[in-house]
Amino acid sequence: TAPTPAKAATELLFNVFVPPKHPFNTGMFIPWAKDVMRVTEGRVKVSFTTATLAPPPKQWNMISKGIADVAMLANIFERNRLTMNVIGDLPFLGDSAVHRGVALWRTHKKFFEKANEYKGVKLLGLWTISGAHLFHGKKPIRAVSDLNKEKMWVIAGLPNKMIASLGAVVVSVPGVKMFNVVSKGIVNGKVTSPYGMNAFKTMPYIKHITKVPGGVSSVTFSLLLNKKKWDSMSKKDQELVMSVSGETIARNAGKKTDQLDAKALKMAKAKGITYETASPAFVKELKEKLAFASKGWVANAAKKGVDGNAALAYYRQQVAAQMK
């Protein structure tokens, strides 16, 4: 172990379960660790595990029990606990991961924090990937009827329910198995971000892309810190850590994924994959069919004493403000 600096240092063990070259790792985890050490002048040190100490679904428990100190959580794994963040999965909320993520964090601060969903851990930040497009290997998706009985890969949770409600047959195997289900024709299309299209080497099986303005859905993540470790830090260090967390986390992670999205779309165009934006008629149809998702979320929010309609309006407003 390294020699301890003169002042009592807080050492944070950051559990990493994504591969080293994953954009979240290079774009956010590592810069965050450097920022934290820089602004606290070394009083807070961050080290990374070389492999995960718990499987991805167990990250919350791992952090709340202090097995590791910091970790990323795919919020879907705590879907019973974290119902407010599902706002980030809703359709038509924004294309850019930066916009969506920053808006999510601001909405969290203003509306969700009081619901105290993160009881038992310290939430450092929230982020999302960009708005999901519709990808298909055989035909362009131009109307809801084009999805009827089509086998589509969608991430589990609300996105899965939404796409299923459009008549598609949804398959939600984990990302690592995505190549198998796409390459073997078990699914003919996917609903994901452009980076997601390319991430699992499935681009060769895609022929058509339909961009839905604002995205059909997205995926949200949290950065968690052990509560005891947080409480053990001085007020000043807590402030310093938060000064490089929160919105910065959403921005850094989002920037990286937005870049990769652009790269993937450029590659797709170079390969002759068709790219079109959903027609106003298609968008209208989608909005009608997917209205249940927002309604359901607003109802859930009410259960936690949150004004869901106001929160949604605020979220949209935050995205719009960033687009100016």
């Binding site: 172990t1 063990l13 595990t49 070389t50 492999a51 995960t52 100490l53 718990a54 499987p55 167990k58 428990n61 791992m62 029990k65 202090g66 097995i67 590791a68 195997v173 198995k177 198998n180 289900v181 073997k184 078990i186």
Partner: protein, 431 residues
């Protein structure tokens, strides 16, 4: 990193002194993690691992396949398998030994254990080979080596445990074992052909059976074929998960044993308890292995090993050769699954870092574990043979094994240099 090296030294010391392996790993892994990370996180980590293993549906695959094995052993399949193989192969020179290998392969297709395969086939095949004046060395060597196929040909306890420890897909691992298993059967039969050509007196031909007998004998092994096809077919076409295949296999084997009138209330109860017993044994080890794994991960040893190997600038294949040579050496004294538990935390990150496929490596690892079961001085399958043939000296058994050991090295080289032999089938799978 130093902590983890000391940890391994202590682990080997207390394990070799006879402290249960799973508990040794739990104690050393827990202590090491505590030194690096503090005691409170360690206690929580151990709680998490215990619950994660014991209340995890994905691990239920193990008891269910063990139960299937327990029922299968009592269904007296081995006799029919041997009779069928004998009807077709027995009249060749060395034919009874060839039939033994074929029957071992068939038995391995419904049992997940190498020792069970060896012990069961020994009871069936050795008396017949002795009757036809086969050399003890050939008879014992054939069964000891043939028995090792139990963990290569699916279902396989070793592949399930490798899958649990590395979080690799058990269905894909099962698929990957099939072609190497078939190669093994062919290679072992070729070995018998060669040794009986050189020394014809060690394996005289048996009786030639007429075609009617042959087909009738073959028809009686339908149960084995049905169970195997049901389980593997179901998994490979995505009809059910390995877990579900375990349940279907267990109940299928029970039905099968009842139809063959081999099941009584007492035997039923015994089979269940046998599977419970083995499951508990293995679950304790899996908990220990996962705690140890977290300690080793936290210590940074695997990353250090990967970095160090990178500085050597050997080609990945050379590193793989060194790893395999190490395994064969280690396998002389450490047996079976213990090899998997003790080496996975270090070697799997290294192998992955070198860019090898972990499904393929699972098969390679099981093949070196098979070799460990028949290499002196400590070879469990050999000891099984010895306990069943007390009058045959150990030296004779090891002598009989030598040609099979050579075949093992050849087939290992085949799978190492042609990974498609393992990976083609899982890549064909629907999921």
């Amino acid at each position: 990193m130093i902590v983890s090296l000391i940890g391994f030294a202590v682990l080997f010391l207390i394990a070799f002194m006879g402290f249960p392996l799973g508990l040794s790993m739990l104690v050393v892994g827990g202590t090491g993690f505590g030194i690096l990370r503090g005691w409170e996180p360690t206690l929580e980590m151990i709680s998490q691992q215990i619950l994660d293993v014991t209340l995890n549906t994905n691990f239920a695959v193990l008891p269910m396949f063990l139960l299937m094995g327990a029922f299968v052993h009592r269904a007296a399949l081995a006799d029919d398998l041997y009779e069928a193989a004998d009807a077709w192969l027995g009249h060749f020179r060395g034919g009874l030994a060839m039939a033994t290998i074929a029957a071992c392969g068939g038995f391995a297709a419904v049992s997940g254990s190498s020792l069970a395969t060896a012990a069961t086939m020994a009871k069936v095949a050795v008396p017949s080979m002795r009757k036809f004046k086969y050399a003890d060395s050939l008879a014992a060597g054939t069964v000891a080596a043939g028995g090792t196929m139990g963990i290569l040909i699916p279902p396989s306890a070793a592949l399930i445990i490798y899958g649990i420890l590395t979080e690799e897909d058990i269905a894909a691992l099962f698929m990957a074992g099939i072609i190497p298993g078939v190669i093994t059967v062919i290679a072992y039969i070729a070995v018998i052909k060669i040794v009986t050509r050189i020394w014809p007196q060690i394996g005289p031909p048996g009786e030639r059976k007429d075609w009617g007998t042959r087909w009738r004998a073959l028809a009686r092994v339908w149960g084995v074929v049905l169970l195997f096809v049901l389980i593997l077919g179901g998994i490979s076409f995505g009809v059910f998960t390995p877990n579900e295949a375990g349940g279907i296999g267990a109940i299928g084997a029970l039905v099968f044993a009842i139809l063959r009138k081999k099941m009584s209330r007492k035997i039923f109860f015994e089979s269940l308890l046998e599977a419970v017993h083995t499951s508990a044994m293995v679950i304790v080890i899996v908990i220990g292995a996962l705690v140890l794994n977290n300690f080793v991960t936290l210590s940074g040893l695997p990353a250090a090993v990967v970095n160090w190997v990178e500085t050597l600038e050997f080609s990945p294949m050379i590193v793989m050769m060194i790893i395999l040579a190490f395994y064969v050496l280690l396998g002389t004294v450490i047996e079976g699954l213990a090899m998997i538990f003790l080496t996975v935390p270090i070697f799997v990150p290294l192998v992955e870092g070198l860019g090898f496929d972990l499904i393929w490596f699972g098969i390679v690892m099981v093949m070196v574990v098979e070799i460990s079961l028949i290499t002196p001085p400590i070879g469990l399958n050999v000891f099984v043979m010895k306990s069943m043939l007390p009058d045959v000296p150990l030296k004779t058994i090891f002598k009989g094994i030598a040609p099979f050991f050579v075949a093992d090295l050849v087939r290992l080289a085949l799978v190492v240099f042609i990974p498609a032999l393992a990976l083609w089938l899982p890549n064909m799978m629907r999921y």
